[in-house]
């Protein structure tokens, strides 16, 4: 190493260190801001309690079939599981705490969605909840959901104040793929991308990829709007619309790739990379062979 290189090494290391520190700082700033996901921002209305304005399921028009939540043995087991796994943040009666919002009035579909996708129990509270292996089985998740749905919103009687219930069955046989595509591209692709690969939102939040989602999870997410996702009511998207969208999502996550290897469906970014690195790169290697090296 010449003296010049040694002279250069210290400033270079300094610059790299500064760059690394600033990236870490910005990154952690971003993370810190996304704790907003756990607590609503100041001034925002309580978006997690949709009491009074909610449109409940209005009959079966093909597609998703909503059942009334059954209060009974399921709810009792659910309460045990809830106290075990959820009450440390959400409170023993799901009333919420400084760390987590209240769940009363959310309805069973919301709770079921978060639990069966493994997002709850939350792994890293300062980050957006990530899908992971659920710790509860499907039945257990239903039980927890039934328990939460059985909790009364103060001032309301019966199930009127509850959010959407877990869909009983999802019938895709009458679903129209093309109509689903049109609706998907109007409502969903703006956050989840055209090929349902997910997308970036602000301050570290993101819309997840829909590839691992089951039809049930998609239906629940559409109706309950988890996290930053908007909530789509029956009046806005009918059960038929919902079935169309679900069928389209199942298609677009494994679409017809007639052109060959799909490069991850990311789009022009990867295409450009491959075009230059593989296309021009291979041709440069060919030039190395044909031409002289000196």
């Amino acid at each position: 190493m010449t003296r010049r290189t040694r002279q250069m090494a210290l400033p270079a290391l300094l610059v790299m260190g500064v760059a690394a520190v600033s990236i870490v700082l910005f990154g952690s700033t971003a993370r810190a801001q996304s704790t907003g996901a756990a607590a609503p921002q100041p001034g925002a209305p309580a978006t997690t309690v949709p009491a009074g304005s909610h449109n409940h399921a209005l009959g079966n028009t093909g597609g998703t079939n909503y059942q009334d939540t059954e209060l009974g043995a399921g709810a009792a087991t659910g309460k045990q599981l809830f106290v075990q796994a959820c009450s440390s943040c959400h409170g023993t009666d799901a009333e919420g705490s400084a760390r987590a919002p209240t769940l009363v009035g959310l309805g069973s579909a919301a709770v079921d969605f978060w639990v069966i996708t493994g997002r709850m129990p939350l792994e890293i509270p300062s980050q957006q909840a990530m899908r992971k292996n659920p710790i509860f089985s499907v039945t257990q998740a239903k039980e927890i959901a039934q328990y939460v749905a059985s909790l009364q919103v103060p001032g309301y009687v019966g199930s009127v104040a509850q959010g959407p219930s877990i869909p009983g069955s999802i019938d895709l046989s009458q679903a129209n793929l093309a109509q689903g595509g049109e609706l998907f591209r109007l409502n969903c692709s703006t956050c989840h991308s055209l090929t349902a690969n997910g997308g970036a939102l602000s301050y570290g939040a993101f819309a997840p990829s829909l590839v691992p989602d089951t039809p049930l999870e998609i239906a629940e997410a559409i109706r309950t709007g988890p996290g930053n996702m908007p909530r789509f009511t029956i009046a806005q998207l009918s059960s038929q619309d919902e079935a169309d969208i679900i069928k389209y999502v199942k298609y677009i996550t494994h679409p017809q790739d007639r052109g060959g290897f799909n490069l991850g469906h990311v789009g022009p970014t990867t295409e450009g990379f491959i075009g230059i690195v593989v296309g021009v790169g291979v041709l440069m290697l060919a030039a190395f062979w044909i031409g002289d090296r000196v």
């Binding site: 997308g199 970036a200 990379f273 002289d292």
Partner: protein, 585 residues
Amino acid sequence: MRGKAAEAGKKAAAKQGRDLDERLGLASAGRWMLNYIFPDHWSFMLGEIALYSFIILLLTGVYLAFFFVDSAHEIIYHGSYVPLQGVKMSEAYASTLQISFNLRAGLVIRQMHHWAALIFIGAIGIHMCRIFFTGAFRKPREINWTIGLTLMILALLNGFFGYSLPDDLISGGGLRIFYSVFESIPFVGTWAMELLYGGPYPGTAVLSHFYVIHVFILPLVILGLLSAHLAIIMRQHHTQFPGKGATETNVVGTPMWPGYMAKSGGYFFMTMAVTALLGGLAQINPIWLFGPYDPIRISTFTQPDWYIGWLDGALRLWPNWETHFPGHIIANTFYPAVILPGIIFNILYAYPFLEAKLTGDKAYHNLLQRPRDVPGRTAFGAGFLAFFFVLLLGGSEDVIAVAFDTSVQSVVWVLRVGLFAIPPIVGAVAYLLCKELSAVPSAGKRPLANVIVRSVDGGYAATPVELHPLEAEHHEELEPAPVGHVFVPEPEPQLVTAGVVSPASAAERTDRGPAPATSAASAPVQSTSASDIPGVRQVSRQGTPGEPAPRSGRHLFFPRRSHGGEGPNGSNGDGAGTGPDSGSD
């Protein structure tokens, strides 16, 4: 029988050739053409990648033009792609679906067309870098640099117009952004865009206007400029790297016929092969997954093709400034998408003249410089490229944010800072690397192998290997370009056994004097080394008696050549090494 037919055939061909020559006078010009010499270095083939990709674009484009319908008229789709059945779309989009699904070779040709466009512009970029970093744009080639830069800009534009033709959701979004950017131009912006789009956005005729420009106008202009580009090269002859007998007044290399035609023609087909492989196996622009364009629909993760991606990055990274005058504004998009590329291209256009002024160098240059020998220019170019790449990264900020599990905000700020911090650092590093490389005489050179000879009593002796003449060609050391300073070579370490490696031959080997020194240096060494050691059999690669002695082929092209020293120790002594073939002046 066959001989007679062949004879007759040859006679007929000769007669035809004579007839043509009598009418067109092809013989002398033709001969000049066939004798035209191309330098052998691989970096001269980068421009060919671009040229051949353009030809591929023309060929595949003609096929596509037969089947594409350039109409924005809305129809209901009833074709074979089920997920879009019954969807309202433009005829352009529908025809692209037809090409992709219903023509037997449609999709592979369509994808080849798109991949060829990416490779075309990538190759132009790399070719431009080669021209820049080796100083090939200096007098008398400034005009060709200007033409080449214009070709690059036209290629960018044509690519943009081309991928906007299918009218899918992603490229349609790009059309909207293009409209907004150019309508922000003061005075004429809104008027010009209405002209191009056929009315206020979305306009009635944008697809058909773009079609005429993409298929007709720009390819013609590109063809014309390309022909001028090639004609000027042939008129001025190629530049070349110094070494191997290259001078400012000659060209050393392979003639057009038959060598270069074969190599370059082969390269054309190899370019087609790579494009076809990508076109068939790697899906690109699957517009059926995107849906037809609709001004109220959009998606995330939408980037333009990479050669426009740097402009998208500029749009994303630019702060939200807007300039207000009484009654008028200069909109935000004007600065990053009109002014910034204007500045960048103007710097590039002016560069040959700027550098000539700065260095005071107004001489003709036909010999290239190694980048390490012009550290200032190399540093500037490296910094410029770094700036471009940061902008390119900026265009994919949301993809980066999700891929690295961080926020868009932090990516944007890192890139904003990086836009100013990284180019100077890269430039400084490049500068220092150049200085390092020039300071070390053997940098980048392949050292010769040594043959280890073992003596009877266990001693080892090392002699430089005698190369086969073909190997000698490839082990030819690059003559260092004339530089202002004089460097002192580091002394060779002395081997333990005295007398084997004489200091004189060591010095010859390291400072790489006029001759390639392979054979010239080896002759005296061998005569003092192993044969002096009793009982040792000489290991040599000279020819056995009866076989012609190997020669190092490089310095044989001047009529005046000394045949000296074809002795038992092999190679013709290249006394010619000290002659006019010493290469660089």
